[in-house]
Symmetry: D2
Subunit: 320 residues, 4 copies
C-alpha cells in the first residue's frame, strides 16, 4: 500500500499514520519528497480494510496515480487495450485511435513475446516499443508492455509507463527483485496455477525493494475444464480486494482465449468490482500474428465499453 | 430444447420446424396437445443458435414457462432465494416475505440435506416441504427443493414446482432417468468436477425420457485455489448458452461459501448473461442449522437485487 | 476398523480393546457372535496406527477376510480382474479362466453400466450377474460388481461377494446408507474430484450403519493434465494408510484409460503399498462393448502379474 | 534426441540415420567431432520409438552420458541426492559420504534458492557451490544445482555438471535459450501446472539452441487435493517415454513435501519406469534451513535404495 500524504502534512500526522500501519502488522518504508511524503506499507494481511487509512488526517490518497488524471484503484474503472503483438506502424496507429476513442486510457502491446513453442513469432523488440510509444503519444495513452528479463529494463524504461510481468514469470524472482528497484508501476499477472496468496507474495518481492506501484492482474487459472483456454477466476477480484490494498484488474482475453466470450467475462469482472480491464483489440484479428482468436475488433470493443458503462454504477464506479 | 407451437399452427408449419430440428442434428419428440403442439429437440450440439427457431413461422416460444408470467430463459433474470434448510415455520415465513418483497419469484429450501458427514443435520423431510409450500403460497412464490432418490419423487410432487438435482447426484443416472418421466421442471446442478459437456450429457438423461423442462445451474468447480470453497466458473454461462438451448442459472452461495463474496459473484453472473440466480437467504444466518456462513441477511439480499437491476440492461435483460 | 477378537477372548480383554478404541477417538459398535466378538471402530482420525491394535491381547485380526484364505489388507496383494461389462457367457468364461490362472482372486465385471451418455450400452442386468457368478464359481473366484441404486441390493446379493460403488456415486448418500445395512463388503471408489478426506467421510456413511467391511479404491482424479483420462493419485495410497485402517486398492485401468499405461501404473501402485489392484481384462479388447481401449489382453495381464511378484517383496508383501 | 555414432561410422551410415530422423519428422543438427559424429534430433512427436534408432548400423548410443560410466536413460536407474540448500562444509561432506555409500551418483544442493516469500533464506551463493563441488569430488559424485538467471551461467559452469531449471522457471524462455548455448546437461523440472506437452516444448527451447543433453523431471502438479503439497503425476513417466526420447526422472521430495511419503513415491516412480530419482537427504533434517520436512535422513535413504534395488528388475533395470 502506498499512502501519499497531503502537501504540508505535519510530522505528527505522518507519525500517526505510520503507527497505524505498524499496528496493522505491516512494515513501513518512508520517503520524504520535496512536496509530499509517501509511506509504503509492505506485507500481506488478511481482513484489513485499506479505506481506513484514507480517512486519517493528512492523508491524500492510497491509489496508484499514473498522471494526467488517470488513477487505478479509485472510482474509475481503467481500461487498457491493444493488440497482443505490435506488428506494424499502421496496425498500431489504427488500434490506438480506435481504443482511445472508445475510452481506453492505456495501450497494451507486446514487443517481446513469450511463446510456448520456440518456433512461433517472437515479437519486434525495441522497434515495436518505439511504434507503441509513438502511437500512444499521438492519442494521449499510457503504455504497458511485457518485460521478460532484467536486462531489458533499462532500454524499456524509455518507452513504457507500466512494466508488465507475464503469468509465466510470476515467480521469476530475479526479475521481480529488479523491478523493485525501478520507479515505474508494475502490472503483475497471476500465474496459471498460482494461488492468490502466492500472487500477493510475488508482489512482495517488488514492494520490498521499494517500488510500491504494483497492479495485480487475474488472467485465468488452469483447471480440468478445457472448453476455454483458462478459467477466469472472477472471485479472485473481491478476495484480493479484501486481502490487499493493491489494485486488481482482469484480463478476459487471455482468461478465455475466444473473442466471443471476452465481452461476457469483461462485464462480469467489472460487476465483481475489478479496478480495470486488459483487453486485446486488433484492427484485423483474422490476420493477427498472435492471439487473433481472442482479439476484439474495434467495434466490438466500443460495444463492450458501452456495456460496462451501464454496469459500473452498480458497484459505485464509473467508466471514462 | 422445447419448441411450443402457436395455437392453430398448421401441420405444414410443424413439419417445417421438425425438418429444421433434424437438420440441426437433433432427435425430435412430438407431443400433440389439445391446443398446442410441443416439439422436444434432444441432443447436444456445438455452435447452434436456438433463436433461429424462434423466428420460424408458427413457433410460439422456446423458453421454460413456470406459469403466472414467470419464464426462465426469456428477457427477465429470475431469482430463486431462501434458506439452505427449512428449519421452522417462523423462519420460512419470515424469509418468504423478505425475498418476495425484494423481487424473488422462486423459493428454495432443503428438506433432505446431502451432507458430507453422516453426523451432520440431515433435514426435516416431508414436514419441511409442507412448511415451504405453505409459505410460498402465501407470498405467491414457486418452490424448488432437492430430490435425492427416485423413491422421493411421488411424495415431493405434491409440494414442489421444480425438482433440484444436487451437484453430488449429477451423474446418478437412476435419479435422472426417473426425473425424465415427470412433467415438472428439473434444476440440474453441475457436479464439482464435471465438464460442461458432461453436464449437458446428464441433462440428456432427463430430456431423452421426455421431460424437456431442464434448467442448468453453475455452482462452482473444484480447483487448486482453496481460499473460497469453490471456483464459480462464470465463463460456463456464455459457453452453455452457445452450446445448448437450456436456461443456465448461477448459485453464488455454494460457489463461494462466504456471505461477503456472494454479492460480487451474483452481479458477475448477471453481467455474464445468466438466466437466473439461486441465492441463500436466512433471517438469522448466525444461527442457521446449515450453511449459515454463506447465507445473506434479508437486507443484503434486497441490496443485491437493486444492484442487479442496474446491471441487467447491459445484457438486454431486466429484473422484476 | 473391524477388530475380530479371538475365540474365547475374555470380557476383560474385550473391554480393554474397547477402551483403547475410545481413547483413540473412535466410536465403538460391538457385536457378540456365537464364536467371535467383533468390534467396529467408527470415525476418521489423523495419525493413528491400526497395527497397535493387532498387538493387544485377545485380538485375532484387523483385516478384511473374504473367506477361502483371501484377506485384503494383509501381507498378500489381492488382484481383481475382468471385463468392464459382462457381454456373453463365452467371454466371461474365457476371461475367468485366464485371470484365475494368472493369480487373480476376484472377478470384476459390470452388469449395470453408468455411462456418461444415455445413448451408450447400459449393460446386461441380472442376466450378466448370473454369467459372472457361474464363471467365478467354476474357477474359484470371488465376484465384485457395481450397484447403482438401493433397489438393486437385494437381487444382487444373490450373485456378488463385494458390492462396488462407482466414482459417480461416492456421495450418493441414499445408496451408501443402504449398503451400511448389508453384511457383504463394499468397494468404494473415490470420486473424480473427491478429496481423500471426503472419501473417508463417505466410507463413514457405510461404517456408521454397521457394515465395517469397506475397501477404498483410488481410480484417478481430474486435473488439468488431459493426456490420459485421469491422473491416478498414487500418493493417496500411503496417505490413506496413514489416516485410516481401511484397505486401499488401485484401479489403473480407469486411472489411465489406456492399455499401454496400465502396467506402469499397476506396478507403481504396488510399489507404493496398495493392498490390491482392480484391472480390466478382456479376451478380445478390440471388440469390447465398453472400455476396450483400457482393457489388457490375458497375456498382458499375466505379464503384469509376474512383474508385481518381483515388486511386492520391496514393501514386505507377496502376490499369489 | 542425441545420437552418437560409432567411431569410424561411414558417411553412408551417418546419412542413413539422418534420413530416418527426418522421416520421423524431426529436424537434424549434425556435429562432426574428432572421433565421433553426433546427431541431434529436434522436435516433439507422438508415438515414436527411439529404440528404433539404436538398432541402426553405425549408431553407438542414444543415452545421455555423464562420464565415468554414468549414463541416464540406459539400463541403470541413476539417483541424485542431497540437501535442499547447501548450509555448511560439515553438512555437505556428511551428506555426500552417506549418499555415495548408499549408491547415489549425483549430488544435488541449492546455492540460490527461489523462495515464495522474499523474507525466507535465499542460499549461500557461489560459496555454497564451492562446498558442493569439493564434497562431490571427494566422493566421486557429479553435481547438479539450480540456475535462476542467465547471468549466473558462466560462474556456475566452474562448479556444476548439470544445470537444474526449477519448476517456476520452466517457461522462463530467456533462461532456456541461454542454456541452449552451453554444453552441459540441463535438468528441466515440470512446472506446477504445466502439461506434459508444454514441458516438452520448453525442452525444445534448449534443444533448438544446440544443447541436446536435456533431462526432464516430474516433480508434482497442483490439483484440488491438498493433503500433500503436490500430486506427483507418476503417469507422466510412461507418457513422456512414449512421446520423447529424453530421459525422465522423478522428484518425490518436492512431489510430496513430506518425508514419510517420499519412500512410497520413489518406489512407485521406479516401478513406473523412471530413468532416475532426485531425493532430498539431510544429515539433520530437523534443523535444515529449508525443506527439512521433506528431507530423508541418511539411514532412510539407504533403506530406500535397497527397496528400489528389488523393484528395478521388474522393469528390466538395475540400481547401482
Amino acid at each position: 500500500m502506498v499512502i501519499v500524504m497531503q502537501e504540508g502534512a505535519t510530522e505528527e500526522q505522518i507519525q500517526h499514520v505510520i503507527d497505524r500501519i505498524v499496528a496493522s502488522g505491516f512494515d513501513v518504508h518512508r520517503s520524504t519528497g520535496a512536496t509530499h511524503t509517501v509511506l509504503g506499507a509492505v506485507g500481506v494481511h488478511r481482513d484489513f480494510d485499506h479505506r481506513d487509512f484514507e480517512l486519517l488526517s493528512g492523508v491524500r490518497e492510497v491509489v496508484l496515480d499514473l498522471g494526467k488524471g488517470v488513477k487505478i484503484g479509485g472510482p474509475e474503472v481503467v481500461v487498457a487495450a491493444g493488440p497482443c503483438s505490435v506488428e506494424s506502424r499502421e496496425q498500431i496507429h489504427a488500434v490506438a485511435e480506435a481504443i482511445s476513442k472508445a475510452g481506453a486510457k492505456i495501450m497494451r502491446g507486446g514487443a517481446f513475446k513469450p511463446r510456448t513453442s520456440p518456433y512461433a513469432f517472437q515479437g519486434l523488440g525495441e522497434k515495436g516499443l518505439q511504434m507503441l510509444r509513438e502511437a500512444a503519444d499521438k492519442f494521449g495513452l499510457f503504455v504497458v508492455s511485457e518485460v521478460m528479463d532484467p536486462s531489458q529494463i533499462e532500454m524499456m524504461s524509455g518507452y513504457v509507463d507500466i512494466f508488465q510481468v507475464g503469468a509465466r514469470n510470476m515467480q521469476n524472482y530475479f526479475l521481480l527483485r529488479a523491478l523493485g528497484e525501478v520507479q515505474k508501476p508494475v502490472l503483475l499477472k497471476r500465474g496459471m496455477s498460482a494461488t492468490i496468496e502466492e500472487l500477493l507474495l510475488s508482489a512482495e518481492y517488488i514492494l520490498s525493494g521499494g517500488n510500491y506501484n504494483v497492479i495485480l492482474c487475474e488472467r485465468g487459472i488452469r483447471t480440468f475444464e478445457t472448453y476455454l483456454r483458462n478459467t477466469l477466476d472472477i472471485a479472485a477480484i473481491p478476495v484480493i480486494q479484501k486481502l490487499s490494498h493493491l489494485p486488481i484488474v482482469a484480463d478476459p482475453s487471455h482468461g478465455t482465449g475466444r473473442r466471443d466470450k471476452v465481452g461476457a467475462m469483461a462485464r462480469a469482472a467489472v460487476a465483481a468490482g475489478a479496478d480495470g480491464l486488459l483487453i486485446e483489440v486488433h484492427n484485423d484479428p483474422d490476420h493477427a500474428l498472435s492471439d487473433g482468436a481472442q482479439s476484439l475488433e474495434p467495434t466490438q470493443f466500443a460495444q463492450l465499453m458501452s456495456e460496462i458503462r451501464i454496469i459500473a454504477p452498480a458497484v459505485g464506479r464509473r467508466v471514462a
